[in-house]
Subunit: 257 residues, 2 copies
DNA sequence: CTTATATTCCACAGATCTATGACATTGCCC
DNA sequence: GGGCAATGTCATAGATCTGTGGAATATAAG
């Protein structure tokens, strides 16, 4: 029963805190910042049982951090707005900045804050404009479909080895994934390098790209082509703030971060 | 025992989540984003008993969100870095965006997202440059001392009525406080208006100002003068990122938000 | 060394949160 | 309407968190 005092304000905010006090809920939220998913898919992705996953999702729904959409017998959950993703990003940033353990874990898998492996967004835009690089989205196809960097090729990590031949060995690859805590892109880069290709990771992932105000394309996957920079063919989706799809050559910095 | 897997990452982040699951801890963190304080002061400000406050602070310390400094027999807590404040800001933003209750509470006290009462940072810089406005910091003096907008006058809300005479009735007042969830500035504006003065609130508070990359002055309070825009006299403090103190006329937008 | 002050540590009872399997719902299909 | 499949709800046992008063520490001043 809020009476309008300051204490009630913090009590409300604690509803949000309740969501991120449980590791699996952070995991779920992180996934939902990439793309909407059914309960089934979420349970599978996080290794939870159905009823447990559902319970967690209820907690998240009560905090209004997620919303649902029903399709037949299936319920799709999604992040309830850009602020949610921003919050998750802030949580991750804080973790990397303050918790040495986080950096350790990342470093242990080769995703640490090493060296010149990282490409900034500005640099990517620069080099994509001149067609020097191939941008590779190594996330699962659903996430690519829900939103990707204009002109990026979808090549999920799990298929990377099998489809290596589709890449032009002459071009440098810039891979990206879910964000700084995601291991997909670093792994992809390691794989590519082991094959003698030039490859680097994009700093951050798609959520940060979107949060920086840069254009995002939604729509179906197109198979990776071998050489010429593909022309973007997606449609602007619900989340994309009225930006026409542009490929690397047209991309521009929106509000710089 | 982290083994380096993805689950461990989220487990680490949940340490941070643990901090913001309790309303009082959010309250404490919010206070610490304004200025460092002793346990005693924090307990008093939040209405907690000593041992309880201390316990909460330990939780926050274990999550590395706060750090301490000892001075004699007293221990001062402070936010462990700018990322912490950014996270708290993100939490507040998320609350306002997603939880209708938060907006309701704010509105109930007149701090709602009403109308033209709000001045943007850009507008303030504009108008301060031409000397049209007085910038008023209505937070407690310790918080002013820990960091304030260059050229701002310190006039804590509790003393506002008593010191009304110190304000030049000819100038518009722009009051600011801790942030969007803080009620000090709106109350101050209400009081000033009731006295026939022109007054508005600055959007957001000092943490957001700092996060926007704008200059912050630290140092002792100088009493509110009556007319002429005072020349800033503070020292850049630990938190101020190497910005020379500037008053309104020199202030510039750093990185726009 | 003794006293006083500000914190931290500890143990415990009461409250809250979690995971899970059984059971109830909801919408689709025949 | 009956049968399925995907979710949501519930009750429960076990684990974790909270508030608190009192003991234990640490620092400063006598």
């Amino acid at each position: 029963m809020p009476d309008g005092g300051r204490a009630d304000l913090y009590e409300q905010l604690a509803r949000i805190g309740k969501v991120v006090v449980h590791p699996k809920r952070i995991d779920l939220l992180d996934l939902l910042c990439q793309a909407e998913r059914s309960v089934e898919a979420l349970a599978a992705a996080t290794g939870l049982k159905f009823s447990t996953a559902s319970a967690h999702l209820q907690v998240m729904r009560q905090a209004r951090l997620v919303e649902t959409r029903r399709e037949g017998t299936r319920v799709y959950y999604r992040a309830a707005g850009e602020e949610v993703c921003r919050f998750v990003t802030a949580l991750g940033d804080l973790g990397r900045a303050r918790l040495a353990e986080v950096d350790q874990i990342l470093r242990a898998i080769g995703a640490g804050s090493e060296s010149a492996e990282w490409v900034t967004r500005a640099e990517l835009l620069e080099r994509a404009r001149s067609g020097e690089v191939v941008v590779l989205d190594v996330r699962p196809v659903e996430e690519y479909a829900a939103g990707h960097i204009p002109g990026a090729l979808s090549l999920p990590l799990e298929h990377l080895e099998a489809r290596l031949g589709e890449l032009d060995p002459g071009l440098e690859v810039v891979a990206y994934c879910r964000g700084p805590l995601c291991l997909l892109a670093p792994e992809a880069v390691a794989t590519l390098r082991a094959r003698g290709l030039r490859a680097r990771c994009l700093e951050d992932g798609l959520p940060e790209w979107r949060q920086a105000g840069l254009p995002v394309t939604t729509g179906a996957e197109r198979p990776a082509a071998s050489s010429s920079p593909p022309s973007a063919a997606g449609r602007s989706g619900r989340d994309a703030p009225a930006t026409a799809p542009v490929d690397g050559s047209e991309a521009r910095l929106g509000r710089p971060r």
